[in-house]
Symmetry: C2
Subunit: 106 residues, 2 copies
DNA sequence: ACGAATCGTAAGCGACGGCTTACGGTAAGT
DNA sequence: ACTTACCGTAAGCCGTCGCTTACGATTCGT
């Protein structure tokens, strides 16, 4: 739900592979697990973490469960990184200014 | 160095606290650890991970080591999330269009 | 020159996370 | 109705990660 869960979920390489598989569109579990080295239950567990983090949506269609990337989940992470980016730039500029003032005094 | 290391580093809550402390400007290790519940060596280890991931810069000044947020490291993560965001939106729009076509056929 | 301060590193321990195998439950095919 | 396909969950094992304590190195203060 929160951006913290999202970043924790995306920290795992296997889960990023799953996300990459969903970039071009929604897929059922079997199609996601197809070709991966880990077992299908393992994929299911990762899908659980990702959807709990708000990064995926689940849509039961008949026998299968179709997973898709949830844009809102990604948006939360982007918002966090944006504030971090702004603060980092501001602090960086301030430090550069102080450095310049020091050089003038020398 | 890569965005993968960056996201792994930011996945830890304690490391995000450290990052937050550096938002307003650079700080030496002692000042960062001040007021935190964990020991100073633990903070040092986290700082190591963060700087290895390219999220922090180190500047030895006299006796102390001053850490600051590295904007370039944050930029790498933002770039990754931007591509993910674009793909997610595109896939979402495509799915919505297919859905609409289905409804027309019905 | 000597003691104090600041910080990184090594070793060891406990907790958490990811994987596998096994199982149960629901929907589709015949 | 019975079998097959698809998928989630439980239990258990093992590696990794974060923390602490202990130590060593470098720099500042006097």
């Amino acid at each position: 739900m929160s951006y913290e869960d999202a970043i924790t979920a995306l920290a795992d390489p296997t889960r990023r592979v799953i996300i990459d598989r969903l970039r071009s569109g929604a897929l059922p579990v079997g199609a996601i697990a197809k070709g991966m080295t880990i077992s299908r239950p393992a994929v299911s567990q990762h899908l659980r973490v990702l959807s709990d983090a708000g990064l995926l949506t689940v849509t039961p269609v008949g026998n299968r469960r179709v997973y898709a990337i949830a844009p809102e989940g990604v948006a939360g992470l982007r918002a966090y990184l944006d504030t971090l980016w702004d603060d980092a730039l501001a602090a960086f500029a301030r430090a550069a200014q102080e450095k310049a003032k020091e050089n003038n005094n020398a």
